[in-house]
Subunit: 393 residues, 2 copies
């Protein structure tokens, strides 16, 4: 299959788009939610369950997999698809975000980043070129440029210098791929073998919360001509309105015929708001991470199933939900499992939450096709209560 | 369905029996392994997975469920079948074993046991009659008499007195059931409703490691005329040969036309040796508990998948194993998951281990039918290496 991004429909009332990304491992309908398989497994669920959830793509975290089990192991198994037994598309990040959030003793130079990993403190060095080599070895269908993700708040001068370096790193990634497209990735064995040239390379826009940096960096990244564009450095602690503005500023420069990926986002209403701002792809730990704490997503907001009010509740997590957890189990039973620290409890909430996110994207796609996305978004956001104020029916 | 136990075949070279237990929730082919669903969930697996594993019965621990979520909750949901969404047979124990192993500040009198639970220290009292009431509320298809499980080693005098009390408690349980058969359990709602009279009540033989106590207690329990007989107080720390002898002594008094259940046992070779000694049913935490530590069962013995030798191993846990974990995943990947503390790792080993135990019972049934059980048992035991001496191919 030739890599391709096709726009199927666009919304008249917003920048929302309905598209389809074709990769060597299958198609991804956009707007798309990408479950996070940090260490080669989406926490709590099996590849079979992901297929049953109609997940079309998963994310593998380059930093985590580089640290453990290590590249030699994954190469030995013929790449991440074979290793984790997932034959659908995989997006690999560059590792940058985790180097800047998890690793110790980072030293950033124009060349790249030296760091000690958070597991055993082993030193390593990742440059833009090495980030590409690693992602090639993993076999990602969508790969990302190495960027520096600055914290919030961030001084303007530091952000400006960092953003310029991120653009130079992006250029080196782009250059590396041009030079290595035909040769890289050939060692990957088995059914997932394909030319590295068929993978997407997305450029990442940084610029912190500064309008001119976001605009300039987006233009600089777009000038390098990537297969898609990601907006990074958002949801790092800034208020939601600053996050939305950062996306809006960057989006102005992004070409319409390429997919756009808002990294590390977000809550269900945020996803709809970002779709309305022209974003196509999202990844977020919320559905899996909150599940492990007993928190489930519903159209009315999150509910924490540990609460005593659910002890005798025979209803499913959410009425009319089609997920396996809701078709088979009650809130009362799931609450008991979570309180008793039974693994099945977090498995069931994880299944429900992933279904919720994936189904929300499916609904959004249908609404865009039918020209009703704007009403859908407004109604959903109005109905959805944020976590602290959530009212349970 | 009328409760029934039918002997299908018996072995000429040993006491091994091939039978079938019919309960209101379905049939159980014996010899049978019973996965343990301590707190209303077999740790790590879903009811759907249990069905796919061809598990025909699960065990619910009365003590654990009595402590949490509590009887009122399970009654509210119409019994344990409905609560945990398992429509197959359930065996409930009496709670005795956990009162004697987990609870604090136990006070045993002829009346029953007063104790503080291990979760929040709440005081409770369980008598033989209350143990029956609780199991009725849970809705067990096979219920157990309340017994005192003495530790190993145990003074003869204490064991003798305790064993006699266990027999008197068994009589009270039998009496309670006679008086309440037609009325108890009527409050259970939903599709699992059935008469309590249809449930099996098993008497438990105690007697520590003393021949005369085991023989006398077995005869006393048999004289009370139960639907089946269990051998308790084994695998409490005694050497394996003492355990085997305790079973042998008790078995001498057990009628051939009733099912026999060796409680809390054992390793795969132990199960085959106990089948050869006339036992029909087993429950054991080993397959699920060891899985959570990365240990898998194979025909050659246990393997700990955390070992470095498996890092690059592309083989399944066990060659030619038909379980989902072995059909889809490599030892190397499962090792990575266990090392990275990913839930999927323990899920996959749990699936494999339960499959191993259930499949071993299925094989034993076939071998008994074909008259080849004795060779099968000897060959299996010779091939199986105990844990510390295990050699990995």
């Amino acid at each position: 299959m030739q890599k391709e991004f096709e726009l199927v429909a666009t919304d008249r009332h917003s920048k929302a788009r309905r598209g389809c990304l074709t990769t060597a491992h299958g198609a991804i309908d956009t707007p798309a939610f990408i479950p996070i398989g940090t260490q080669g497994s989406v926490k709590g669920v099996s590849p079979r369950e992901l297929r049953e959830l109609n997940a079309q793509i998963v994310l593998g975290n380059t930093y985590h997999l580089f640290v453990r089990p290590g590249l030699d192991v994954i190469k030995h198994f013929g790449g991440l698809h074979n290793f984790m037994n997932w034959d659908g598309p995989i997006l690999t990040d560059s590792g940058g975000f985790q180097i800047f959030s998890l690793a110790k003793l980072r030293k950033i130079t124009e060349d790249g980043v030296e760091f000690q990993n958070h597991i055993d403190g082993t030193r390593a060095f990742i440059s833009p070129e090495i980030a590409m080599e690693i992602q090639t070895a993993l076999g990602g269908d969508i790969t990302m440029t190495l960027d520096e993700c600055v914290p919030y708040p961030c001084e303007y001068d530091y952000a400006a210098q960092s953003t310029e370096m991120t653009a130079r790193w992006a250029k080196r990634c782009r250059q590396w791929k041009r030079l290595n497209s035909e040769t890289a990735g050939r060692e990957l064995a088995g059914p997932s073998t394909r030319r590295f040239a068929d993978s997407f390379l997305f450029g990442i826009v940084q610029g912190a919360t500064f309008e001119n940096l976001r605009r300039e960096n987006a233009q600089a990244i777009v000038d390098l001509d990537f297969d898609g564009y990601a907006i990074g450095g958002v949801s790092v602690g800034e208020p939601e309105d600053e996050m939305m503005r950062a996306v809006e500023w960057a989006e102005l420069s992004l070409p319409g015929n390429k997919p756009r990926y808002a990294m590390g986002l977000g809550t269900p209403p945020q996803l709809l708001e970002l779709i309305a701002r022209g974003m196509d792809m999202f990844d977020c730990v919320l559905p899996t991470r909150l599940a492990r704490n007993g928190t489930a997503f519903t159209a009315k907001g999150t509910v924490n199933l540990k609460n005593a009010e659910f002890i005798l509740d025979k209803n499913p997590i959410e009425q009319n939900c089609a997920c396996d957890a809701c078709r088979e189990f009650s809130r009362g039973y799931i609450r008991h499992l979570i309180k008793a620290e039974e693994i099945l409890g977090l498995r069931l909430i994880t299944l429900h939450n992933l279904h919720f996110y994936l189904n929300l994207m499916s609904q959004a796609r249908t609404e865009i096709e039918q020209g009703t996305f704007d009403q859908f978004r407004k109604a959903f956001v109005a109905e959805y209560k944020t976590r602290d104020a959530v009212a349970i029916e």
